[in-house]
């Protein structure tokens, strides 16, 4: 049986792992390669690296880091942050990334998703959506949560999948950093509306939050950063907990 995935996320700034609260207040959380190796050993199913300060000058640093990660870990990983062209993607995949995630650039030019899916296959194109609940609706936000749009997350998710996105990484800005649990309502709505896996992100604080994301949120995978970085939750223990609840999990 296909298992639910536990995905530690590493936010990368200038080659270091960092973690902020509600998209702000950045704290240093260690060397990404070391952390990646540790997570892989502890049973992480996949990893996500988000380059939160990606600019053109930094691109070379990122590709070098991606190669270093790929050499050292034997589980799949996704790289995202500031990716806006077919060339960016080709370079990152060539450097050893298994998947890439696009966010703002894809929203501004949905044709990019199609181009990427045609050239590299849907399976390696993850559409990252940052969303915030306001006036009874979940809206799409861009530029790392700084820019509001008038488009609803559910509509954008459906369109993105129709254009060829192979997976949705859904981050709730209301929940991110709060440790009050994932946004299970919007996760469930999107997961049941698209035919590709949905990764729930933002809000993990306890082990029950993960089981809620899978059971109530119908998520295919759950992503978290600080609870893993700061060892508030051990992956092995989390997996044991989920297994006891009969959630399909790889030990």
């Amino acid at each position: 049986m296909l298992t639910k995935r536990i995905i530690p996320c590493l936010d990368i700034k200038d080659g270091r792992t960092v973690k902020g609260i509600n998209f702000e207040n950045i704290r240093d959380a260690g060397d990404p390669v070391e952390l990646a190796i540790e997570y892989a050993k502890k049973g992480a199913d996949e990893l996500v690296f988000l380059d939160i300060t990606a600019t053109n000058e930094k691109r070379k640093t990122l590709t070098e880091l991606v190669t270093r990660i790929a050499k050292h870990i034997n589980i799949p990983f996704t790289v995202g942050g500031g990716i806006s062209t077919v060339e960016d993607v080709a370079l990152l995949l060539r450097s050893g990334a298994d998947k890439i995630s696009v966010n703002t650039s894809a929203f501004k030019d949905p044709g990019l998703i199609k181009k990427l899916a045609d050239q590299f296959g849907s399976q390696c194109i993850v559409l990252a959506i940052d969303t915030k609940f306001e006036n009874n609706e979940w809206y799409v936000y861009l530029n790392g949560g700084k820019v509001k749009t008038e488009i609803k997350a559910i509509e954008w998710a459906k369109q993105g999948v129709a254009m060829g996105a192979g997976e949705i990484l859904l981050t709730s800005m209301n929940n991110d950093g709060t440790k009050n649990g994932f946004a299970n309502d919007i996760t469930k709505l999107i997961s049941e509306s698209v035919n590709v896996p949905v990764i729930a992100s933002g809000g993990a604080g306890t082990m029950q939050h993960f089981s809620d994301a899978f059971i109530k949120g119908k998520a295919d995978a759950a992503l978290a950063a600080s609870v893993f970085h700061f060892k508030e939750i051990e992956i092995k223990e989390l997996k044991k907990y989920l297994k006891e609840l009969n959630i399909p999990i790889r030990p």
């Binding site: 199913d45 050499k71 849907s122």
Partner: protein, 195 residues
């Protein structure tokens, strides 16, 4: 040992290369016919679309080369599917090393396609799985699958029971990504290198 990874337009070559390097092997990545045919082991990886990959292989005359290989050869993911007879993806006539067909997962019953993630393999019929426990988890990313057939050497269930590995003579093929399947995947690659 000389290991050749076949270079074409649909390879996930970097990951496979790194996985072999972790086992102490430095493979050559090549589309040179002589280099491929003279290697001790050949790996035929692949991530991409079947019909365009077949077109590329035919143009490069790699189709005949792959079919005529005598040394142990391992197809991975799309590589496995291309070694079969026919694929529903782009209605592609494939290499025909295996007599089986490649079909699209049925998307009914809320089955998400592609299948992405860790699933179990079971009912092993080959020494390729030596030292790997029954129902081990491997990492899969695919929308199309190889039907169960006489050549099946491991099975997986995703809405349907299908071949997660097949073997015929010197040809081995796996649907999952051993290069991304943690220690169990590494054991499988090591078993292949030791054949």
């Amino acid at each position: 040992m000389k290991v050749a990874i076949i270079k074409y337009n649909a390879g996930n070559i970097q990951s496979v290369t790194f996985a072999l390097e972790r086992l102490g092997i430095t493979p050559v990545i090549t589309d040179n016919i002589e280099e491929i045919t003279q290697a001790d082991k050949v790996i035929f990886p692949g991530v991409g679309e079947a019909s365009s990959a077949m077109k590329y292989l035919k143009n490069a005359k790699l189709d005949q080369v792959i079919c005529s290989l005598k040394q142990p050869t391992l197809g991975i993911c799309l590589g496995m599917q291309l070694m079969c007879k026919h694929s529903e993806e782009g209605n592609a006539e494939c290499l025909g090393i295996f007599d089986s067909n490649v079909k699209l997962f049925n998307q009914e019953n809320n089955l998400k396609v592609p299948q992405i993630g860790w699933n179990t393999i079971f009912n092993y019929q080959s020494n390729l799985f030596k030292g790997i426990k029954e129902k081990e988890y491997m990492y899969f990313v695919h929308s199309y699958y190889v039907e169960k057939c006489q050549e099946t050497i491991a099975t997986t269930n995703y809405g349907v029971e299908y071949s997660s590995a097949i073997q015929k003579n010197n040809f081995y093929a796996v649907q999952f990504h051993p290069e991304k399947s943690s220690e169990a995947g590494q054991t499988l690659l090591s078993n292949f290198l030791n054949i």
